[in-house]
């Protein structure tokens, strides 16, 4: 059984929801990413989304844009991200790691080499923001061959036919984008999420994580009641931005602990 499935099954038995933090690999420094990942797990994260920085992050708001710029300036690359996951796996063989980013760095490396490397270093899932199901045939084939889950996005604008299409392709979990907008936007509408989820559940048998716009313990808690996992990205990346190299792991850990407590309440 995959690490993602094991994780969600275990949480379900405990009647708990997954906490899925996102950080950008290489931000605030190349050395701090792996300690941050361990810190997130220690604070109560169940799945880690590790952002692969891209020069043109079209789906991201200013906070994650700046994180990508910082990481790229330090020389972060897809190869480097894979090495970080290998390093992380030396001490943690249970927590699922999902790479999240845009397709071009993977295209440049080649999907087969990428998928093979993911398997080698212990990546569990890959979410390519700008590769919808229609353009994911090649990616899907290579990821499947190497037991990497293709994670797909669903959005408030997604109609039923597309939900069915994604249901067929998705593995691991499905990421529901809670709002029309970029990451970190401030227009989260809980009742809209609540209304949409039954339509998703009708076709999606995998766990559903909800993200975009979850900014504090209260919203994390409210959203967690509606789904199987809560994804928190910009808020954590902002905490990284506001910290220094000495206190960043502690500050992020404190924030994630608060989120954990709120979700478990």
């Amino acid at each position: 059984m995959s690490r993602i499935q094991t994780t969600f099954d275990k949480l379900k038995q405990q009647q708990r929801k997954a906490l899925i933090p996102f950080i950008t690999a290489g931000d605030p420094s190349l050395q701090l990413t792996v300690p941050l990942m361990h810190g997130l797990v220690a604070a109560g994260a169940n799945v880690l989304e590790l952002g692969v920085p891209f020069s043109d992050p079209m789906a991201d708001g200013p906070v994650i844009q700046r994180a990508s710029e910082r990481a790229l300036k330090l020389g972060m690359s897809l190869r480097g991200v894979l090495t970080m996951v290998a390093e992380f796996r030396k001490q943690d063989s249970n927590t699922p790691v999902v790479l999240m980013g845009y397709g071009n760095p993977i295209e440049a490396m080649g999907w087969e080499i990428f998928a093979q490397r993911c398997e080698e270093v212990g990546v569990d899932g890959v979410l390519t923001v700008d590769f919808p199901p229609e353009e994911s045939h090649e990616a899907f084939e290579h990821l499947q061959r190497h037991n990497i889950a293709p994670i797909f996005l669903l959005a408030p604008t997604t109609n039923e036919a597309r939900i069915e299409q994604v249901a067929k392709l998705a593995r691991g979990y499905v990421y529901y984008v809670s709002l029309k907008g970029v990451t970190g936007a401030g227009n989260l509408d809980l009742s809209a999420i609540e209304q949409k989820l039954p339509q998703l559940r009708k076709h999606i048998k995998l766990p559903i994580g909800v993200g975009f716009g979850i900014r504090d313990a209260a919203t994390a808690r409210a959203v967690s009641k509606l789904c199987d996992g809560v994804v928190v990205g910009s808020r954590i990346v902002q905490e990284i931005e506001n910290s220094n190299e000495k206190n960043v792991v502690a500050n992020v850990g404190k924030l994630v602990k608060e989120l954990r407590v709120a979700i478990d309440q």
Partner: protein, 398 residues
């Protein structure tokens, strides 16, 4: 028979709909609406009416006799898109998309712009049809193209400076996409070039094809036959595909796209993905030849002309290159400036720096050809917007 894109929006391996899920239903709706209205007689009639009475089409073809004589070879003819209302070919597409937006009930339009011509065209049609208009423009381009920024504001548009990345056209695209994903239900994205997710490359081409369709009638009227070559500058490539597309199956006509060579291909500081044989990649919704580093990060481009300063290119040009049907070459900043000067002095026409690239290539090959050969250059825009840039290069303060 040449028939692209296919039903999934691909031109061979190029094109596609590489967008975040939130926008996929929007591009699908756009595709359906466009396919419907494309063949609607009332839509076609209104588009034709606007092109004739508002834009001033057909744009003339002009024989640049003195320039040709000075070169001593092939005859250079100019398709005068610079004479269109708003001063460039961009208005053709902006009207087409605005008429579609109107029919789709969208009251707000957004656009990206590089040189500002597409921004001006979009601001113009938004005023014409009573729509709210927001234009995203790189902060560096705002410096380079100040007069166009003022024009957009006069026309009632909001111009948003984009400070991220290289602060040029690609970053303006990113920001417009972010706006679209946030306001997808109220907003129509008037995309300026024949690139982006399907159906944009096809739709923009179709709206711009009026250029080539007119030329195919005008050239026989003027010289009794089609030209030996059609030449146009290629950034994203909308003016070029508008001229080229109707000539694709005219196999006797050579097709030449001219990219921005910047400081020269060898310098790496250019905006010529096709000429430089850049690696194929994915950006802004489509798979195309794309300037990138070995890690797949998009690299900063350079061109004297803001409208060509873009790391990608439309998917149909990628296919035409691979098929060998079109040839792609580059012209560097200095060559473009020399052509700019030459057209001013020999013909009394001030061309846009973008169009100067196409002209420069024609001037380069004309002397190697006999006097009975004819080169048709798309003079895609006028150069008024480039006064500051050219003055600065000449060391003159306006």
């Amino acid at each position: 028979m040449y028939n692209y894109p296919d039903s999934t929006g691909h031109f061979g391996q190029y094109g596609g709909i590489y967008m975040a899920e939130t926008l996929i239903p929007a591009v699908e709706e756009l595709r359906q609406q466009y396919l419907h209205f494309r063949d609607d007689p009332e839509f076609k009639a209104e588009f034709a009416y606007e092109l004739k009475h508002y834009v001033g089409r057909p744009s003339p073809v002009y024989h640049a006799k003195r320039l040709s004589e000075s070169l001593g070879g092939a005859q250079i003819y100019l398709k005068r898109e610079d004479l269109n209302h708003t001063g460039a070919h961009k208005i053709n597409n902006a009207i087409g998309q605005a008429l579609l937006a109107k029919r789709m009930g969208k009251k707000r339009v957004i656009a990206e712009t590089g040189a500002g011509m597409h921004g001006v065209a979009t601001a113009t049609v938004a005023a014409r049809y009573g729509m709210e208009c927001v234009v995203y423009m790189g902060a560096e381009d705002i410096q380079r193209q100040a007069p166009n920024v003022f024009r957009m504001k006069l026309l009632g548009a909001t111009v948003v400076p984009v400070e991220s990345g290289s602060k040029t056209l690609k970053d303006a695209c990113n920001e417009a996409i972010r706006d679209w994903v946030t306001n997808v239900e109220s907003t129509f994205y008037i995309f300026g070039t024949a690139a982006g997710p399907h159906p944009y490359p096809m739709m923009v081409r179709d709206f711009q094809c009026v250029i080539g369709n007119e030329a195919k009638v005008q050239m026989p009227e003027m010289i009794g036959r089609q030209p030996d070559a059609v030449i146009a500058c290629v950034g994203g490539g909308s003016n070029a595909i508008g001229l080229f597309y109707p000539y694709i199956e005219e196999t006797g006509v050579q097709i030449i796209g001219v990219e921005a060579g910047g400081h020269g291909i060898a310098s790496g500081q250019h905006a010529a993905p096709l000429t430089a044989n850049a690696k194929v990649g994915v950006l802004h919704g489509n798979k195309v030849y794309l300037m990138q580093d070995e890690n797949g990060q998009i690299i900063e481009t350079h061109s004297i002309s803001a409208g060509l300063d873009y790391p990608g290119v439309g998917p149909e040009h990628c296919l035409l290159k691979d098929m060998g049907r079109a040839q792609y070459v580059s012209i560097d900043d200095d060559e473009a400036l020399a052509a700019f000067d030459a057209l001013c002095r020999f013909e009394g026409i001030i061309p846009a720096l973008e169009s100067s690239h196409a002209l420069a290539h024609a001037m380069k090959i004309a002397p190697t050809l006999s006097k009975d050969k004819v080169l048709l250059v798309n003079l895609s825009g006028r150069g008024d917007k480039d006064m500051n840039t050219v003055a600065r290069i000449k060391g003159i303060t306006l």
